[in-house]
Subunit: 391 residues, 2 copies
């Protein structure tokens, strides 16, 4: 393998541990003789095209550890799907800087970007090793058991529901919480980890994997409210009707064609209105919160396993690029109790573009809750939660 | 002082440390000879009227410590302003159960409830000692330096802005975060604690203490965006126009006459639309989050000082009731560096009903930010925050 410079970038929505992967890769790269320079691209591929790089060979370990513990993408992120012109520009820059390694930290869209660049480099006979380092709170990448970033976001959501359920217990009424997740309900399903007692919320969980039927939703809420005098609901931002239309959306799209669902309270407010309508003249306290970007960037709320794995997938990717070649890093769970995992490489094409979603066995028959099997999957990742005190 | 039973209740919006006050009062009461029984009223005054009590003399210390560490009101809360009929019923219950002490944990509305009951008991010649134990994330009680519950909510808000500002740095655009606070901007102002570097957000802070001028807001956002390529904004849910009308509201009121502002994304979405309109045809990424109930009930995010003081005001209130009489517990800051405080009593009437708000010296002349004096006040309460790592 020819010696050369590496470029590393971060792409897509930030997470609480994405900088762990960055630092894991930097530290591993500093130990590789064949990697002669480490360039951080500001705002992912946009930074590569603009030659907007940071030299990552000089920072102290203390500084890097501080970066690793800081949420969101320290290099800056981007949502840009490169076309032919962009890729031509990327190669111009790579040739100019003697770049032989590209590490791209992100989700399925980022894997697709990495894959496109990798294929064009192969076609051009340019020796480039491209490694996709997985990251997404959505947990929707194929092949891997789970995605770095998910467990910390899931922990944020589980704790949020734990506190909010106590709040709802104290003041009663109906509370709707909208959770991130465009097509996959993993993060919304993590709300179930908040339950410790039989009457604890969330009492209903709606995932984008199932059709959202308004009349069924209204009947579900009324039933729980009649039984408990209150009802806490977890709803994925991506819930859609039988025709696949989101229940609420601003109509905005990014360059990957994704509809904007986050950064607005529209769905929560719409669902609150539907619940009020269901109760007719009966006065019921109905509130809706949209957890929003806090889920992916809230500092200090992290899963210990997630922190460790995010760091290690970065290092593993670098080691594999030097000794092996291109691909995407994936996680295999080797044991559930106690939890243990290992890393392996999977082809870029196996992760790029298409995503996965919640398994059928994790969703109840009615489509308004999860199953115990889901808890078995999610609990070890999220880690121990505080015990709820009661009188 | 006659021996007798005490009743304790929680009222108004929950906080992360309200159960510390409850447990502080219970443990102190168990040491008092003149307090012969401890009844917890479920859902505050509603529970008193319904004789819905929990015996609080039997729980183990371990159980009580678990309750203390759990957010939201463990006894259940209520938003109910008692009229004459309710008060007559309260006395019937108090006489029946030999109640000589009432402890009511809450904000200004709860202090008013305590004050009404106290005055009627005095008029009736019934020997009752009524102590209001302060609690509110709004920090808007008069007399006291600050309110238990505020510092933990402020810490949640500061950390949220810290992470969200990194998120906005990574993906740029305009981000609006709506923070709780009907008439007082304390909690919104706490967002400023997130700043560590010169360009860190929040870049603009709008408080209900100043008229919210839409044109000025739009101009402010454009100016910051032109300068930094991004803009993070903290807005209080209570911001109102020159006529005192909230910029957005659902029109719903509680029995204290308070307008419902929380539990909806309406204000955030309205402000996002105003920002988009300000940029006209220019495509700018604009997002709005409403932090909602997480601010007051999120588990594990607490200020150490808040935890300690919330516990101690509960104990202090009980000790004063036995040795002194009725009143509301207040906090006096005796030193800022290092932080130190002491407790004292103030008449119920000095805290009931009317609230306070941000001092003029804490708000900048333009009305779109705080001053360094505010940081001096707030920082010791919230405690040390993690250092942001940067490349």
């Amino acid at each position: 393998m020819e010696k050369g410079t590496m470029v590393i970038g971060q792409s897509g929505g930030p997470t609480a541990v994405i900088n762990q992967s960055l630092v894991g890769a930097i530290l591993a790269a500093r130990e590789q003789e064949t990697i002669t320079g480490i360039l951080g691209a500001r705002h992912g591929i946009a930074g590569i095209m603009a030659e907007d790089f940071i030299d990552l060979t000089t920072q102290s370990l203390a500084q890097l550890e501080q970066v690793a513990a800081t949420s969101a993408a320290a290099l800056g992120s981007v949502r840009l799907k490169p076309g032919k012109a962009e890729c031509a520009r990327v190669f111009e820059v790579f040739r100019k800087h003697g770049v032989r390694y590209l590490f791209y930290i992100g989700g399925n869209d980022s894997a697709e970007t990495a894959n496109i660049i990798n294929q064009i480099s192969a076609d051009a006979g340019y020796d480039l090793r491209t490694v996709h380092i997985p990251k997404t709170i959505d947990n929707d990448l194929r092949v891997t058991d789970h995605c770095p970033g998910f467990a910390s976001a899931a922990r944020f959501v589980a704790l949020a529901f734990m506190g909010d359920d106590r709040d709802n217990y104290a003041l009663s009424g109906v509370k709707i919480n909208v959770v991130m997740g465009r097509h996959a309900g993993f993060l919304t399903a993590a709300a179930a980890l908040a339950r410790q007692g039989e009457e604890d919320g969330p009492h209903l969980i709606y995932l984008p994997e199932r059709v959202f039927d308004v009349a069924k939703f209204q009947a579900d809420v009324k039933r729980v409210y009649r039984q408990l005098g209150r009802c806490v609901i977890a709803v994925s931002e991506g819930v859609s009707d039988a025709d696949g239309n989101p229940i609420a959306s601003t109509g905005e799209h990014d360059s990957h064609g994704n509809v904007q669902l986050s950064g607005t309270g529209a769905l929560g407010d719409k669902l609150a209105a539907l619940v009020k309508a269901a109760f007719g003249d009966e006065v019921v306290r109905v509130r809706a919160d949209t957890f929003g970007y806090l889920q992916r960037s809230y500092p200090t709320i992290v899963s210990a396993i997630d922190v460790r794995e995010a760091r290690e997938v970065g290092a593993f990717g670098v080691q594999h690029a030097v000794s092996g070649g291109s691909g995407s890093v994936a996680i295999r769970r080797t044991s559930n109790t106690p939890y243990a995992s290992e890393y392996f490489m999977t082809p870029l094409t196996s992760v790029a573009r298409d995503t996965t979603s919640m398994r059928d066995e994790w969703i109840n028959a009615e489509g308004n809750d999860i199953t115990p099997a889901w808890l078995d999957y999610a609990r070890p990742l999220v880690g121990d939660l505080p015990v709820i005190g009661r009188l």
